[in-house]
Amino acid sequence: MKEGAQKRKVYIDERLFERIRQGDQDAFRELYELSYKPLYAFLLSYTQNSEDAKDLLQDTFVQILKKCDLYREQGNPMAWMMKIAKNLFLMKCRKEKYTDTNYDDMENALGFDGISNADDRIVLEKMFEILSLEDRNMIIMHDISGLKHREIARLMDMPLGTVIARYNRGIRKLQKEFGDKL
């Protein structure tokens, strides 16, 4: 195990996929435990609907299970898994023709009521309210999933500078919004 890799927020051992390929259910369980939270956050950011995000999360893991033998070691399996999640979301969009909804409509759909800590809930609510999809995704991918900016740039087909700028802009907006409130 590489030392640098272990410093990641979410570290997934690439050997897990080998074990899954060999039919090790525990390995899949381990993979799920490590990745389902960031993946859910990422999908929720896209769908802005907890039910849709849940469905897509389920589909993502089924696909991971199906496609695990196609996984090639590339540093961070989280980027690969997020790519699958994103593709599933895009496919769903094509099929259902997603339309933009305003925040009031989606507020209930996000399912933030289930968060016990009010401050956490407010932060998430503001995050979905004031940040654009791209800015929000940058924060989720970097801070929740533990992807490096370079990996995000590759995953999202964006220049590295844009990724960093968007991430910083998102964080600054949130900081400005809350100031000393919390």
Binding site: Y36, L65, K66, G111
Partner: protein, 640 residues
């Protein structure tokens, strides 16, 4: 809030929010019969190896693969469609560009400044370009307008090059026409030639030779370079040498040493012939000086007695009479009633009178008599006559030659119906001129083959022929206004019974004369010239009057809806009873016309008609009519 704290809160929030759906995933996997279904069955006794064997085909035929395939297809389709779209747009642009290019006609004027003029088929200028340094400087300084007629531009260019001393007497102008359509080519040659000659005469620059050469539309070379290359390629002239030659030298070289087809303007031809005649006369004088015998021959009135001959001539005349615009010679009452149409290709100074006149020149046995039309239908001034003779292919060689020698003279005795000619030399000519038709008969003959001329609202002229006609390669149509100026026109459609000519610059209700050359009646081989006057009645314009304002009971301002162009503009004002008022245009602007009308009264309604206006897009000038009332509000209130 600190960044770290913010990140923690986001992370905590999502941790709490994310549902643990592992069981659901496994159930779904089982439904979809993915690997773990088999892994689960390991518990039921199946080996991991067997599961792995099952996994492989499952993965290969998985739904995701299909979906990915769909995605790929979708993406591919998107890209393919985008590329196709771009290609289609590019093709369209290219087509439009090429179509525009194709529509363009180019002429190159070489004096020393070489200037290229691009124009459309209506001879309206699209752009001009200097091809050398002098050309560029001329182009930079001359004032020209887009859609201006190329003849007008030619005036401006000639004026400029003469002013700047680029063009002097006895120099040459080479006009290169890159036009595929031969008819347009010939037409343009005539028009430009006439205009250049006219301008040079006006500027008193004499002896300038204007030559025309035709090149292929897609020729890479332009102007004199085409000629230089041709001379270098086919006539062994050194290209460097050709480059150093002036335009006049090039033209001269072509005439003397090559068989290249250069056409010349009328005055250039005249000039060249005069020069040749002079040379010839000088030579003749030298050779004949030793045995100068002046042979005087008296022309006498002759009457032909042979009835067969008369009949045959009559038949010939009656066959050609409907096609010929030239005047047939009608028999004198006192004569035996025959038609005689004999004349000489070599010009004799024909003198015509309205009364019956006969001219008989001694006929040379060596010189064959040709039956071409000799003179115009009406008495012409001497200069006109010479011009007409020349235009009809008559040479002035003998006349001028004889006058140089001071040994020829002729007398006309109209009372005795006898014209006497004395011509030096061995050749003897005979012209019998009998009674010339009166104007009425002449008109009937001239217009005989044209049944009807109608003018469409768009400015096309439809000519309906009585008899079926056949067009020769030298078909040429000229439309001339009453002042004698040519109107730009071209044949757009022709068939045996009808011809359509498109014109630019005609004004509604003006009288024009159309001259058609190079056609003949079906069944006849002799090409004729047809002339007919017509009034451009039905021309229309899209110009519209937006608003009329009256000032001081005298000045009426018409505000136009679009930019307006004027030519021979006139104004007519009538009241409701049809009484006409004196009116004149005092100001013509782009968007408004100011008219002064005398004698208008309050509370009367008037109709104002402006003729000779058009919009930017139109070719010809039509008229607009609008009614207006004069009501003074103050006076109305005073009455109440």
């Amino acid at each position: 809030m600190k960044k770290k704290e913010l990140k923690n809160r986001i992370e905590c929030g999502f941790s709490e929010l994310a549902p643990d759906i592992f069981e659901a995933v496994m159930e779904e996997a089982e439904i979809q019969k993915v690997a773990f279904c088999q892994l689960k069955s390991e518990d039921t006794g199946m080996s991991a190896q067997e599961n792995a064997d099952i996994l492989q085909p499952e993965v290969e035929n998985s739904e995701l693969n299909d979906d990915n395939l769909f995605m790929l297809k979708g993406r591919f389709m998107k890209y393919a469609l985008s590329i196709c779209g771009v290609l289609v747009v590019a093709c369209l642009c290219l087509f439009v560009f090429l179509a525009n290019k194709k529509d363009s006609l180019y002429i190159v004027l070489d004096i020393n400044p070489s200037i290229q003029v691009e124009m459309n088929k209506s001879y309206q200028v699209k752009g001009i370009k200097g091809l050398n340094e002098d050309g560029k400087s001329v182009v930079k300084e001359i004032q020209w307008k887009k859609r201006e007629l190329v003849q007008d531009l030619m005036d401006t260019i000639i004026q400029d090059v003469v002013d700047k001393s680029y063009l002097h007497e006895n120099e040459g102008i080479l006009v290169t026409l890159s036009i595929a359509d031969k008819n347009i080519c010939y037409d343009l040659e005539d028009k430009l030639g006439d205009r250049i000659d006219k301008k040079l005469t006006e500027l008193d620059v004499q002896g300038v030779t204007t030559a025309f050469q035709k090149v292929e539309n897609n020729s890479a070379n332009k102007g004199r370079k085409v000629l230089e290359e041709e001379l270098a390629k086919n006539y062994g002239l050194n290209q460097e040498q050709a480059k150093k030659m002036s335009i006049m030298e090039l033209i001269q070289y072509c005439q003397d040493n090559t068989q290249l087809e250069l056409d010349f303007s009328k005055s250039s031809v005249k000039g060249q012939e005069t020069q040749k005649d002079k040379e010839k006369v000088t030579k003749e004088q030298k050779t004949q000086s030793k045995s100068s015998q002046i042979k005087e021959t008296t022309t006498q009135v002759k009457q032909k007695d042979s009835k067969d001959e008369e009949k045959s001539l009559e038949d010939e005349y009656s066959e050609n009479i409907s096609e010929e615009t030239t005047v047939p010679f009608k028999d004198n009452e006192s004569s035996s009633g025959g038609y005689e149409r004999q004349s000489q290709k070599v010009t004799s100074p024909t003198t015509t009178t309205e009364s019956s006149a006969q001219v008989t020149l001694p006929v040379s046995p060596q010189t064959p008599v040709q039956t071409t039309s000799p003179a115009s239908s009406e008495p012409l001034a001497e200069s006109d006559r010479t011009e007409q003779q020349e235009s009809e292919g008559y040479s002035s060689q003998n006349t001028e030659g004889s006058s140089e020698n001071d040994s020829s003279d002729y007398t006309v005795n109209t009372e005795e119906k006898e014209i006497k000619y004395t011509i030096e030399g061995e050749s003897e000519y005979q012209i019998n001129i009998n009674n010339i038709d009166s104007g009425k008969d002449k008109d009937e003959l001239v217009y005989q083959n044209i049944k009807q001329i109608t003018c469409t609202s768009a400015g096309n002229i439809n000519i309906l022929f009585k008899d079926k006609v056949i067009y020769t390669s030298s078909l040429r149509v000229v439309i001339r206004d009453e002042k004698g100026n040519d109107i730009a026109c071209r044949v757009v459609k022709n068939n045996k019974k009808q011809m359509t000519v498109s014109a630019v610059g005609m004004v509604k209700d003006n009288r024009y004369t159309i001259i058609i050359e190079g056609i003949h009646r079906e069944g006849s081989n002799q090409a004729v010239k047809i002339t007919k006057a017509f009034i451009a009645k039905d021309l229309m314009t899209q110009s519209k009057i937006r608003k009329i304002t009256v000032k001081d009971m005298e000045f009426v301002t018409l505000e136009m809806k679009s930019e307006t162009y004027y030519k021979d503009t006139t104004v007519k004002v009538k009241d409701a009873d049809g009484n006409q008022y004196d009116a004149k245009i005092v100001e013509k602007g782009k968007d408004e016309i100011k008219v002064q009308i005398l004698g208008m009264k309050l509370e009367n309604s008037y109709f104002i008609t402006i003729n000779g206006i058009k919009t930017y897009k139109e070719n010809n000038y039509g008229s607009v009519t609008k009614d207006f009332n004069i009501v003074y509000k103050e006076i109305d209130s005073f009455k109440i």
